[in-house]
Subunit: 346 residues, 2 copies
């Protein structure tokens, strides 16, 4: 019989609430013969306040043993900005070499978008996850004085760029439209930008059926709101991907629906799945959070582990649920989770 | 009698066409007693192809003698990406210490926006112009091989941040809503981000009437499309400002309307005014370019040089022209310029 050994990191704010619904739907969709084991990890703001720890080595080692990680949200205003992000969330992404940060964007029918004319939106951003300005390189001197100088170093390697670019070509090649857009800023960030562009062009020769395109990041934001239908697969660096995927979430109905996977396709380490939204402390504990992004992240998790049919069942359930949503009534976090669990089981 | 000694850099693509209209409107709006002198500089792609030069020292020295610079657009696909941007446009911004990159965003009546519901948009982005990832710091080793490593260094100084932050507070304090939002990414770029935030908070103590707010850049893009009316003045770093102002232009009717000023408020060097749009080589020479962004940049130029009434006249003319635009007919670049010239003169 098959098994799924899942690490669960609810984290902060609404993390606990949405993760509970993700697990509910996971339980409902999994075939009977799959033995699901979950282990919850107490990581995040409370742990840090209690012990000063963000992600101890023992916990990291233990997390490594799982097939995958489901994460809710990390971050709380009571913790200085950067401590949990860098000490926990990014630490996981880097330690487990999650070089594919996968973020699909789709405008579901009946979902509110701020864009007039409801363009068709169905693209996926393949964001690099282990390099760029996220490496923690940088520092400051004369800190806090009028002579302070602070640097941030974006680190980019051919090895790191090639593997994410290749993954993006594979994904584009497998989609009907077969289109891949590189987003960077190679007219200003010429060293990193030209390396990205050269590797993008070189690897592209192996994918003759994929149509390619290049956009500067500033221009890309324009097309996200004026012509999002032009995008199919986008590959980009860690920081540009961070910015673009929040914008993508906004135009496809909000971060309440945006799922993501921090993926290590080699299988050397467990991949980690999380909603794009943060911990939203302002609505935490009130049953107001939309768990859909987490449920869709569970679908990405299942797909990654080979449960394709189950992933599709979840995505169809979400589609159907959204199609029947009615602007007038608001359901609780729990009610949305229940509705989705019923649908995937049915 | 007063005088205005203007340097004109038409540049590439549609630059020539739109700058001609900017000058037309400038001539029409200037009081009789102001003696306007213009000198055109041949800089851009053609010059580079002919001579290999982007911005020779002699030209830079000569530009320095003017009261201000009007620039059309820089960039052409025939020139490797980065050569003209860094060798000419950014070289000017850095050489003349244009630390305020001022980019107002306003949704004029009757202007198409991709946003449903036509929110009220009227904010100004104060983008830092001489630091951040734009300094040209960085490099690569083993270039072009599979072992290449490329870096980009974001350089930030307390001196540079404080002066732009202070300028932004002054601008916010002078506006009715008195609201200033800092945009950065201080949960990841902790060195630069914390310095920005600390300086923002400290300088803010001198402006007790200004309401302040902080947003991560990714979250800011969400609000640009879901709640743009929340912004009044935004202060941000060079790269985030680049990205956000293209998005701002997109939601307020497109880059055909977005003006900008590269300003050195000390007066030590001439400030430079340019439309946010690029050289648009695909429509160059066809009379299709909208010169409005250039005309609005001329308004910013006039305001900077103390011609406030004339700046307002241009802005009102643009407002009135846009209000009467009719989606059905398309006017040429020249016709729009003529219409605006007539209005400001009348
Ligand atoms: C919380 C933060 C560190 C994170 C990021 O910048 O990657 C978040 O914005 C995201 O997109 O997952
Ligand atoms: C052309 C390019 C160098 C420039 C920038 O990145 O600043 C442009 O995008 C702008 O916003 O003025």
């Amino acid at each position: 019989s098959r098994s799924l050994n899942l690490a669960v990191v609810p984290g902060d704010g609404i993390g606990q609430e949405v993760v509970a619904q993700g697990l509910k739907v996971l339980n409902a969709v999994l075939p009977q013969d799959v033995k699901l084991q979950t282990k919850e990890y107490d990581l995040g703001a409370q742990r840090w306040h209690r012990t000063g720890e963000t992600l101890p080595d023992a916990e990291l080692d233990s997390l490594k043993q799982h097939d995958a990680i489901l994460l809710g949200a990390i971050g709380d205003p009571s913790v200085p900005s950067g401590v949990l992000e860098r000490g926990l969330l990014l630490k996981l992404r880097f330690a487990f070499d999650h070089f594919i940060n996968l973020r699909p964007s789709k405008l579901f029918p009946n979902t509110a978008t701020p864009l007039a004319g409801r363009p068709e939106i169905d693209f996926v951003v393949v964001r690099e996850g282990t390099e760029g300005p996220y490496t923690g390189n940088g520092g400051s001197i004369r800190t806090g004085t009028e002579h302070e100088v602070a640097t941030e170093v974006s680190l980019n390697t051919a090895y790191g760029v090639e593997r994410v670019v290749r993954d993006a070509y594979e994904r584009a090649d497998a989609r009907p439209r077969k289109k891949l857009t590189l987003v960077h800023k190679n007219n200003v960030l010429v060293y990193a930008g030209h390396m990205w562009k050269n590797i993008f062009d070189r690897v592209g020769q192996e994918y003759p059926e994929v149509t390619t395109d290049y956009l500067h990041v500033d221009a890309a934001t324009i097309f996200f709101v004026t012509q999002p239908e032009r995008f199919d697969v986008i590959v980009t660096d860690n920081l540009f991907g961070d910015i673009l995927t929040d914008l993508a979430a906004a135009v496809t109905g909000g971060i309440g629906l945006a799922a993501s996977g921090n993926i290590n396709p080699t299988g050397a380490f467990p991949s980690m799945f999380e909603p794009v939204h943060g911990s939203a402390p302002d609505i935490a504990g009130q049953g107001k959070a939309d768990p859909t992004a987490t449920v869709l992240s569970v679908a990405l998790l299942l797909r990654h582990l080979g449960f394709e049919a189950e992933a599709v069942r979840i995505e169809e359930a979400v589609s159907a649920d959204l199609a029947e949503r009615d602007g007038g009534t608001t359901r609780t976090t729990d009610e949305i989770g229940d509705a989705l669990a019923v649908r995937v089981a049915g």
